[in-house]
Amino acid sequence: MRADNSSAQAAFSQASEYLERRPLVANDRPLSWITDHVCRIVEQPAPKWWWILTIVTGGVATLVPAMLTYLVSTGVGVWGLNVPVCWAWDITNFVFWIGIGHAGTLISAILFLTRQKWRTSVNRSAEAMTIFAVICAGIFPAFHVGRVWMAWFLAPIPNANAIWQNFRSPLLWDVFAVSTYFTVSLIFWYLGLIPDLASLRDRATTRFRQMAYGLLALGWRGSNRQWTHYEKAYLVLAGISTPLVLSVHSVVSFDFATSIVPGWHTTIFPPYFVAGAIFGGFAMVLTLLIPFREIYGLHDLVTDKHIDNMCKIILLTGSLVGYAYSMEFFIAWYSGNPFEIYAFTNRAFGPYWWAYWSMITCNVAAPQLFWFKYCRQNPWVVLAIVMFPNTGMWFERFVIIVTSIHRDFLPSSWGYFSPTWVDITLFIGTIGLFVFLFLLFVRFLPMITMFEVKNVTPQADPHSDGSTHHGTSLGHTQSAQAHA
């Protein structure tokens, strides 16, 4: 390390106790090292595995348009739906993907506001994940309707029919919530990208890259006049994203909570859905981050500390979700309402018992392993464990949606849902699409927020005694770290 200038020296010695707390950037790398390491991923020719994966997942992704074409041209009947089960995999997948979409903005926004500096090296990919997940999610509500070509009825466009939308419908709330969430996440993500895009622009060797990144960087110069507004804007966006991220899944949960179907009609849904979303979201972040961290050797940026923290969050939210599950049963029993009671007993012991118990195993049982340090420390074990929440959260949505409506009030109209090949293929397609988009992202955009990471390195501190400084600036000091 170069201890040539006094400030860094001082900062280093003064932050020694911080060092014991495992630094966010290990081995005290110089700024250029960070730039170089992150940008290299984008600049070097794509490795073989990337091509293979991208082509494969790209292929899988094409299943989405294929299935949608079939769906739209032939009718919703190509899915396994029926009366009473009018929603099944379509909405399950929607809620599943939306849930995954939560960790991204959550990490960025909430952790940012709460000064959780460790976010810096994971937030970029997490946000990207959000965007892609929401894209996948959006497909389902958009195409689950019987007459997609009439879906524009959902938009309040003045028209000569003089008829409007029903703003009491949770489904319409969804439309607003999801589109807002997507837009804001996108803006937030892009805003964070601008300075790093500038780095890529300035390192660019080919004319094309210069043009491309140059356009995207919007002519960023890193002048302090830009920084001062930039920081403010970022702060505001983070501020509004936080309630937004909480609202979105609450609104999604209203689809069910506001209905009268036993098993849907539950007041604890909003918090329980949000917890579930964070739970599943973090699981997915880890699922993506761990492999790439290994591949690109970013151990110094995405340190074990990061992983450990996320494991703890998964443990917490997982337990919250578990609590919600048990609470549902208690309330049903406590209500003394035979319909409610039946709905929940049917969940656990009815035709769909298998779905219910796999949900419990994946979401409640598996995460408990994170009580053990070993499980949190060893990335591969973590990777193995987070696979459970990933599946479990899908099952949770399936259980909530299908088991509730397949046997509701009148036994005469009880039914059973089983998916068709179209249901399954479409879902697989979206998984492909998701990974495909993520691969493109790691290939063409900086996976890690360089300027923020630089910001939490010792040499970022211009002062000999940073501890006196407080403010809303990103340029926070390790001493603030220490306090945090």
């Binding site: 009018c86 939308q165 009268i260 179907v261």
Partner: protein, 1069 residues
């Protein structure tokens, strides 16, 4: 919705659909025009300009109609094609009704045919006639679809080779001439005619005329489901040419021994109405009839029973004899003594409590002349006679049992005809209607016989097995296409009036017979008019007047035809009883086979009728198939099972063998079925009838021979190890202790009339409170419906009526199995009580039109909202199909168009746009122009027939003109289901109209709404079901009201697992 019923362009195929509009005006020039029109076959079209012009008029009408309500292309240049000459009385776009009647084997149904611009689209009962009083049944409703059945053969066929219509017409005439000469030479010995039963006096006239010309000609009638043993019995007891029919309205105690008088086979509209009238209990203290039923399988009648005994048909004789003895014991009479003198002492089957019979007898005796004993037609003449004897000794003849002149003429049976054919004397066989090759007893080997005859001519509206084996096939007419006459159950004389000219070349039985009798092809109603003249013996002016009334009203008003006979000659009965046999042994190796009609396809004549195929059997809820019905115990002992797997009924397939004949069939476990017995519904397995019939069910006729025509002993079921998937519309058969159908005994009702309001959940819930004031439902009318569960027999006629009225598509077996049936109204059927002696309740469920409709609030695009008259309305063209509303509907009455059911072939649904859009033009012609034909991707549901409501409102306003009185007159508006219901169990009307009945019924204490606690405030409510059990009956269940809340029923549900219920629990490993 862009759903355009393209009316045929003016070309050949178009022309074939549309014929005389002139018929609308029954005026001289029309008559005259008709005269020229009718005798012509298809041939005349080409050369007769007048008929071509008349066709074009029709095209005019049809296109104008297309303009009226069924167009909607984006911007193409559309044309308006007016009439060239406007026919009288015709206002394009206004509907017209014609009185007509549907011929039935034991009593025809007086009907009105509603036509729009020349297309009959809906059948209703004839409100003027006492038999129907506006009601109808599912077969009457469905018969209109047969008219448009695209698989009707359209041309005369000779040995299967199509010849040009022109030529064939002549050939046929020459052939007929040949037959006449031939028959003349043999005095008719070489001529035989086999006819179905149409009860047509005119046909009788022609028959006698024919027999005058050819004295030795054979005339046989065959109806697979009308054995006529009751007629024989009647002849013995009451004398020749008599028959009897129950008068249930007068009966206060009814014992039905395997007689399904509420079903569509043995029953008639008057029976249901009569029974319902005795059943209807509005206020505490009202009198109520009591029904005892003894039967092998749960029939509709059984579901209404206050006391039901499941007993093998074979044991019926033992039962009735025991009953007779009990009656004699209670009230000794010489008459009964000598009847029973020679009667054998038959052992009662195990598990039959003599006390049961004793109490039943006692009840019958107490009610004397107001009690009634009915025996199923399948049972022996002896048993029938015994029943008559008992009735007469109870003094009920003339009060609860009417004797009247026989409707059908006596003629020789198919067996004797078979004899003659074997004898070789028959050279020409003319078959009028029917399908003996399919449904004649197997031992006759009809196909063989028929082909052994030189010339066989089959006249039939459809090309069926018999047609295929005939040397000539002559397309017959549907009853809506031709003039005719027939008799109602009460013997009154009905006119059959065409509502449309034959869609394709075709002639009626009367036309053909008169040609056979050497007359020219009759002209219009000429033949009927003759008959009418002889019946009324009027002439001149008076005749014309009477005739016009007859045709307009649809029947000849006549004093009741019931004869004055009060007692019968019981002497012969004793002898008959001596031959009575005991039931076969109770062993699972050889079961008792009972052949029953199918409630859906009857004897098979509706097998190619989509509505009937998709119509769920009232008891098994089975569609598109028939199956052998077994009791749970019998099935288990044969190790046969049903399973509900993924909502589909998976049934074991057995090999059924009876008297050497074998078929393979699925078994369905039917709660309440007698042990050691199996019921085999007839009428299925006719692949060659057409695409609809193809592949549905098995042909039970194959097991049926002359001596086991209704009852066979020694049926063996061998498990094949294979299973088959059956489409049921209701997989789950118990109420799970939920208080959906609420029952009470008369006693309970009398002391606690309001019981139904506080049961189960509703017993605990506090009065509902709303956060905010509801917007006013301040419409001029407030629509509501009340269903009386005490009178609803669960016959499902409402389902068919609704299907016909609201353009409800059929979706096919595969889709029904997926749970995608489209019926807007369904009849839920639950089993209650002990598994070994289950009771059954049925509950019609349509959209409840909730005032706080949960479906509305969740629709993002306001496609379903409330109108100010309390209707939950559905704007199909606004719906984008999120299906959220269906999820949030607690009654699950919303239906979704998962595919283009109206446009795609049902077997090509999954091919989407690759498959061509194929719906027969004719099927489109049936659609009701006042109801949108829904497209793929939209939700649909019952709207209380909003099209009828709007029509009525518009009518009222048009009449009001500049006055303020725009109210719809009380009782002028009926929904389709209400109109069809023969039990008047469905009452619909305006709550704001204090004269209307619906308001009064809603105010009754026993009126309750389903799932009250949700506070959705349904506009469709139910009158709790009231039963009338006999307290002194052994093991009579006297408390139907759950002791507290749902607990008691819960018990019941737990113990009362019916097979299907069990399976739905087990089925998912």
């Amino acid at each position: 919705m862009k759903r355009i019923l393209h009316h045929p362009e003016s070309n050949a195929n178009g022309r074939t659909y549309w014929r005389s509009l002139g018929e609308y005006s029954r005026t001289p020039d029309f008559e005259e025009w008709l005269h020229r029109e009718f005798p012509a076959g298809a041939a005349e079209w080409e050369n007769d300009p007048l008929s071509r012009r008349s066709f074009l008029r029709l095209m005019g009408a049809s296109l104008a109609l297309a303009g009226l309500s069924l167009t909607g292309c984006r911007r193409p240049e559309a044309h308006l094609v007016p009439f060239t000459q406007s026919p009288e009385w015709v206002v394009p776009g206004k509907k017209m009704s014609f009185a007509t009647a549907q011929p039935r084997r034991r009593g025809s149904i007086p009907l009105l045919a509603t036509t729009f611009d020349g297309r009959p689209v809906k059948m209703e009962g004839n409100p003027l006639h006492s038999v129907s009083q506006g009601a109808s049944d599912n077969h009457a409703q469905a018969s209109i679809l047969d008219l448009y059945d695209p698989s009707r053969r359209q041309f005369i066929t000779r040995r299967g080779q199509k010849a040009s219509a022109q030529a064939t017409e002549e050939e046929l005439q020459t052939e007929i001439n040949r037959i006449r000469t031939e028959s003349a030479s043999t005095a008719g010995a070489s001529l035989a005619i086999l006819a179905d039963e149409t009860l047509s006096p005119t046909r009788e006239r022609l028959r006698t005329e024919l027999q005058r010309q050819f004295p030795q000609a054979t005339w046989a009638t065959y109806e697979p489901l009308a054995p006529g043993r009751d007629l024989e019995a009647s002849a013995l007891v009451f004398g020749a040419n008599t028959e009897f029919r129950p008068n249930l309205s007068a009966a206060s105690t009814i014992l039905s021994v395997d007689c399904d008088f509420l079903g569509s086979d043995e029953g008639d509209l008057i029976d249901t109405r009569g029974f319902a009238s005795g059943r209807r209990t509005r206020n505490p203290g009202d009198k109520m009839n009591r029904l005892y039923v003894v039967e092998p399988r749960f029939s509709l009648t059984g579901t209404m029973a206050d006391h039901r005994l499941s007993l093998r048909a074979g044991a019926a004789s033992a039962f009735l004899l025991e009953l007779a003895r009990q009656i004699r014991a209670i009230r000794p009479s010489a008459e009964l003594n000598n009847i029973l003198s020679q009667a054998p002492d038959l052992p009662l089957p195990s598990g039959i409590d003599p006390a049961w019979i004793r109490e039943c007898a006692a009840d019958l005796v107490t009610n004397g002349s107001h009690s009634l004993i009915l025996v199923g037609r399948r049972h022996s003449v002896g048993l029938q006679a015994l029943a008559l004897a008992l009735n007469s000794s109870l003094g009920s003849i003339g009060t609860t049992l009417f004797v009247q002149p026989r409707l059908s003429a006596t003629s020789s049976s198919i067996d004797s005809l078979a004899q003659k054919i074997r004898g070789g004397s028959i050279r020409t066989l003319v078959i009028l209607g029917g399908d003996p090759a399919y449904n004649a007893p197997t031992d006759l080997d009809w196909s063989g016989l028929q082909s052994s005859v030189e010339t066989s001519i089959h006249l039939s509206p459809v090309f069926n097995a018999t047609s295929a084996r005939s040397t000539w096939f002559v397309p017959g007419t549907h009853y809506l296409e031709s003039w005719g006459d027939t008799l109602a159950r009460d013997g009154s004389y009905l006119s059959i009036q065409p509502a449309i000219q034959p869609l394709w070349a075709g002639e009626s039985q009367l036309d053909f017979l008169s040609r056979l009798a050497g007359r020219p092809k009759p002209v219009g109603p000429a033949l009927i008019r003759e008959t009418f003249a002889t019946k009324t013996n009027l002439g001149g002016e008076k005749l014309d007047q009477a005739w016009n009334d007859f045709v307009r009203e649809g029947f000849l008003p006549s004093p009741t035809t019931t004869s004055s006979i009060r007692t019968g000659n019981l002497a012969p009965v004793a002898g008959l009883l001596s031959q009575m046999e005991a039931a076969s042994h109770e062993e699972h190796g050889s079961l008792e086979a009972v052949f029953i009609h199918s409630s859906a396809v009857d004897d098979g004549r509706y097998a190619n009728n989509g509505w009937m195929q998709e119509w769920p059997d009232p008891m098994t809820k089975l569609t598109w198939d028939n199956a052998i019905l077994l009791s749970k115990q019998t099935a288990e002992s044969l190790n046969l099972k049903n399973e509900i797997i993924k909502g589909i009924l998976v049934a074991d397939v057995v090999q059924a063998t009876l008297a050497g004949q074998t078929v393979e069939a699925p078994v369905v476990i039917a709660p309440g079925h007698a042990n050691f017995a199996a019921s085999l519904p007839l009428g299925y397995g006719q692949d060659m009838l057409g695409p609809v019939a193809k592949g549905s069910g098995f042909n039970a006729y194959r097991l049926r021979s002359s001596n086991t025509d209704y009852l066979g002993q020694g049926l063996q079921l061998k498990k094949t190890g294979r299973t088959t998937q059956l489409a049921v519309t209701q997989e789950h058969q118990v109420m799970e202790g939920r208080d959906l159908v609420r029952e009470a005994t008369v006693g309970e009702f009398n002391e606690n009339p309001g019981w139904a309001k506080k049961v189960g959940m509703d017993a605990h819930i506090p009065p509902n409170q709303t956060f905010y004031p509801n917007p006013k439902l301040d419409g001029q009318h407030q629509w509501a419906m009340v269903v009386d569960l005490s009178t609803c027999t669960g016959c499902n006629a409402c389902v068919t009526a609704c299907t016909a009225e609201n353009n409800i598509p059929i979706v096919g077996k595969d889709q029904v199995m997926k749970g995608r049936e489209m019926h807007w109204i369904r009849v839920d059927r639950y089993y209650t009580g002990e598994p070994e002696a289950p009771e059954s309740v049925s509950q019609p469920v349509a959209c409840m039109q909730c005032e706080n409709a949960p479906c509305e609030t969740v629709c993002p695009v306001n496609a379903t909202v409330h109108n100010e008259e309390g209707l939950n309305v559905m704007a199909y063209n606004r719906c984008i199909g999120t299906r959220y509303c269906a999820n949030n509907c607690p009654y699950k009455v919303r239906r979704f168009n998962f595919f283009d059911y109206n446009q795609r072939a049902l077997d090509k649904l999954y091919l989407g746009p690759i498959a061509p859009k194929e719906t027969a033009e004719t099927i489109k012609l049936q659609k009701n122009p006042n109801v949108t034909v829904r497209m793929r991707g939209v939700m649909e549901k019952c709207t209380f027939c909003v099209q009828r409501i709007e029509e009525a409102k518009i009518g009222a306003r048009v009449r009001a003109r500049d006055s303020a009185d725009t109210r719809i007159p009380t009782g002028t508006l009926q929904t389709a289901c209400q109109q069809a219901c023969p039990a008047d169990a469905i009452v619909f009307g305006d709550l704001k109209d204090e004269k209307a009945e619906v308001g009064k019924l809603r105010a009754l204490p026993q009126n309750y709404s389903l799932l009250e606690y949700l506070n959705v405030r349904p506009r469709l409510t139910y009158l709790g079901r009231i039963r009338n059990p006999n307290p002194s009956m052994p093991g009579a269940k006297m408390n139907y009201i759950p002791s507290h809340g749902h607990g008691e029923n819960h018990q019941e549900a737990k113990t009362g697992h019916t097979p299907a219920e069990k399976h739905s629990e087990e089925s998912h490993p």
